[in-house]
């Protein structure tokens, strides 16, 4: 039993990431992008009988029901995925699995986040502020709140900086090699009108002269939070001919969850990245080297380098030299994150992780315009959640 060829992505919609979305509600953003994806596939709302969403701030529960009612659909399969940055990729294989199991025929996968904007009355920097006082988390009873947060292990910068430190200790890595990832991805964004940094150039010097936030990571190696939304339509093989768009066949999927607190993460040569990607390639019966596009989760430059090795694209310890000696742009010899990656496209919450999936599917469909990878047959999309905690890999193909 395998998901290979059971379903395909036939509809895609994505709102261009913005810094802030003002007073628009998250349901408005999801409803808009969902309707666009349904129309893109050439389907109608009544054709949608599956819905996959993620936890949404401001909706305390009943998320699938709330979203379904707002969209005007009545799914026979309703699912919530909570895998951080792997959520988007995790949605796609769950949709295919539900289709294969007969629970639905056409599933809408929805991701998005809103950002209202900076509060107008935020206090200005004041050198005479009183010293900060300790705070007790009001709701978070997780082991991370108890054993990580007291030390400043809050958010993701600290964790990925520690991954970069450890990687550099084990294998050696130059700052310029990490920066090359950001620079090549920016060239891709320069060919993607929807990318947040579409109009801005980036050089290695720009990256390395930006502020060091957490040693060794610079500001321009770190994703910028944005608002936006992305949606995919996954449909059964026998409904693919009814769709307006060419299919991006789901040929393989793999997933792994190894820890929650970063201190409990596996060693860097035994992460869930490898477990998930090997499973995806095995299901599709292909090898990493067969891929014409790598769409790899890039919350930080170091994540791309680690994933290149752990997913099997590059031998252990050679990712730095690899990115230095290859052209990672859409026109290059190793197309990587052709939408710009989240670093240059923008990270709109869960839609940021989904952007790697939408790009892989769109490239397979041959709809990427200026940045289209010519003759693309196979693409790999990877999602990563938490501090390398949750991993989902997907192999897409132009042929079933």
């Amino acid at each position: 039993m395998s998901l290979k060829g059971a379903a395909a992505v036939v509809g895609i919609a994505e709102l261009a990431p913005q810094r802030y979305t003002g007073d628009a509600s998250i349901l408005d953003l999801l409803s808009q992008v969902g309707a666009e994806a349904i129309a893109d596939a050439g389907f109608k709302h009544a054709d949608i009988d599956g819905l996959v969403v993620h936890p949404i701030g401001g909706l305390p529960g009943f998320v699938p029901a709330t979203v379904a009612e707002y969209l005007g659909i009545k799914p026979t399969f309703a699912e919530l995925v909570d895998l951080g940055g792997a959520t988007g990729a995790g949605m796609v294989w769950r949709a295919a699995a539900a289709i294969q199991a007969g629970m639905c025929t056409t599933c809408l996968c929805l991701t998005g986040t809103r950002r209202r904007g900076r509060p107008q009355n935020r206090k200005q920097q004041n050198t005479e502020r009183p010293p900060p006082r300790s705070i007790a988390p009001t709701r978070d009873r997780s082991p991370a709140a108890e054993f990580d947060s007291p030390y400043g292990m809050v958010g993701a910068n600290v964790g990925y900086a520690m991954i970069a430190t450890r990687y550099t200790h084990e294998y050696g890595l130059q700052d310029t090699q990490r920066a090359k990832v950001a620079v090549d991805q920016r060239k891709n964004a320069n060919a993607n009108p929807k990318a947040f940094f579409h109009d801005q150039q980036l050089t290695i010097d720009d990256v390395l002269s930006s502020e060091v936030i957490c040693q060794p990571l610079h500001m321009l190696e770190i994703v910028m939070p944005a608002a936006g939304a992305a949606a995919l339509i996954v449909t059964a093989a026998d409904r693919v001919p009814d769709a307006k768009q060419k299919p991006a066949w789901i040929l393989g999927a793999g997933e792994s969850v190894t820890h929650s607190s970063f201190a409990q993460a596996p060693n860097l040569d035994a992460t869930g990245i490898g477990i998930a990607s090997r499973a995806a390639f095995n299901m599709a019966d292909v090898k990493p080297g067969d891929m014409g596009l790598a769409s790899l989760y890039d919350c930080y430059t170091i994540m791309v380098l680690l994933t290149l090795e752990e997913a099997g694209f590059v031998p252990r310890g050679e990712a730095g030299a690899f990115v230095e000696s290859h052209d990672l742009t859409w026109a290059g010899d190793f197309p990587l994150n052709t939408h710009g990656g989240q670093l240059s496209f923008g990270q709109a919450g869960m839609a940021g992780g989904m952007s790697h999936v939408t790009e892989a599917a769109r490239q397979i469909q041959g709809r990427c315009g200026e940045r289209q990878v010519p003759g693309l047959e196979l693409a790999y999309a990877h999602g990563n959640g938490g501090i390398i905690a949750e991993q989902t890999g997907l192999v897409f193909g132009a042929s079933r």
Binding site: P132, A136, P137, Y151, V158, I213
Partner: protein, 134 residues
Amino acid sequence: MSARVIPPISPTTQPYWEGAARGELMLQQCSACGQRPFPPHTHCEKCGSAELAWQAASGKGTIYTYTISYRAPHPVFRDQCPMVIAVVELDEGPRLMTNIIECDPEHVAVGMAVEAAFEKIDDSDVVLPVFRLV
């Protein structure tokens, strides 16, 4: 003493924090298989046994990885940056998140030997295990 995020303590983890208040780094050890789970568990992460006994650890370990945070990861750490946030691998095996205190951040390196120290959290009775270079 410094301002921090105060850990939410549960009955399962209470002995760890009581140990820290005495100046001891307490670890569980599985009576069935010898595994040392961290953070504290109700059942052994390796064999599932509920027979977990508390023991004082040596407090010695090495830096597995670290970063220097130049910006406060949370406003409560505003006056402590640059701060060294590290994962320390204890001689007994478990890895834990911590801070390396009383050091020149630029001289910290992976593999350095460290030993536990104990720091009371401001505005709280909780004592937090931290580490200093040996």
